[in-house]
Symmetry: C2
Subunit: 216 residues, 2 copies
């Protein structure tokens, strides 16, 4: 989605007025660029205002403070990842396809076509010690882990704690590998990467003894 950021400073010039909702979107876009590039702590409201081509009081007209601005962006990203994961899980009853879908959701989340790097707000936040941030990041992780644990438990004879451990391992693998893949500038195609990881993880899951089977 093309943001308003780049065009505003040049086309609108300083002091150019926007309707309130357009301005808010524009501020969010500018803030996202600065937070993604610098992290929360090294991002100054001055920098964000400058990037947006406005003065600082304008930021405070739309957001109570720096943290709220950050949380607004975080919420958007959390919602996007959560929705993608839910959609992947809901799309099929086949457990292997579900794993494939979740992996794809993670890879697509880090590699959105606009290349905005907003995944870092979720996966690489430097504000993880803030309760509001931690709550949001953990909520997405928890939601995904629980749903995948349902899948794992359904396909193995494992109890819930074991299923949750493996589910956490799976989502951890997805998150870290997707970020590595992007950082290494996509050494293999996303499709191949997802298929490879699905193979790794599904072979592992599907070869667990099922309910009632003797361990081998």
């Amino acid at each position: 989605m093309s943001s308003l950021v780049g065009t505003d400073s040049s086309e609108l010039g300083r002091g150019a007025r926007l309707p309130r909702s357009a301005r808010r979107k524009q501020l969010l876009a500018a803030a996202q660029q600065v937070f993604v590039a610098n992290g929360y702590h090294a991002a100054a409201m001055d920098d964000i205002a400058e990037r947006a081509g406005v003065s600082k009081p304008v930021l405070y007209q739309h957001f109570p403070g720096k943290l709220e601005l950050y949380l607004a962006l975080l919420d958007t990203q959390a919602e996007m990842l959560g929705a993608a994961v839910n959609e992947a899980l809901a799309a099929t009853d086949d457990n292997r396809a579900r794993i494939h879908g979740v992996l794809t959701a993670y890879f697509e989340f880090v590699d959105r076509s606009d290349g905005d790097g907003a995944f870092r707000l979720i996966f690489e936040t430097d504000l993880g010690n803030d309760p509001a941030v931690r709550e949001r990041v953990e909520a997405v992780a928890q939601q995904t882990m629980q749903a995948v644990a349902d899948t794992v438990a359904g396909d193995t004879g494992l109890d819930r704690a074991q299923a949750e451990l493996l589910s956490t391992a799976l989502t951890g693998a997805a998150q870290v590998a997707a970020r590595w893949w992007l950082a290494e500038d996509r050494p293999i195609s996303q499709e191949d990467a997802v298929r490879l990881m699905e193979s790794l993880l599904w072979r592992g899951i599907s070869n667990f003894p099922r309910q009632g089977e003797a361990g081998h």
Copy 2:
């Protein structure tokens, strides 16, 4: 190892002198507690000095600045994790046992008997945007990933990029699952957790088509 922190403030009292090297160790112990609990940004040098029972100038006598103090701790943790992983890999030629060893190294790293939580400096740093910090964290990750990729490549017919992707997935799974396991207060024993994850990951790896085999 019992630190000097707790005893110094009560037994030595304010202004109590220590030899330079003993003081440095004590300052590091105090700093670690504060950085682990609060993260880099929310940890103040005042807090660290107070925890150590000294004044702030004493910190600056031993460390050029806050960042250098943090890096000293980070280096120690990076060295410990790296050494544990190398030891696990060197202990056997059996690839499955190597995976087991690496997983164990991660779980033991997060769950050291002193419960100091120092793993957070590596796995949950809020200073990841600082070049010096990022370099150290990535060096450990890279070292582990390369070594495990050697194992993966040795046991599958995968090319290097594919092996590195799976290796990253494996170490990502280990890191995230070990932290979850600790945060959930060890819902299953460490041994069971490691065995379960080894099963997941090893079944996945060992069932890849080998060199020259047709894909099935």
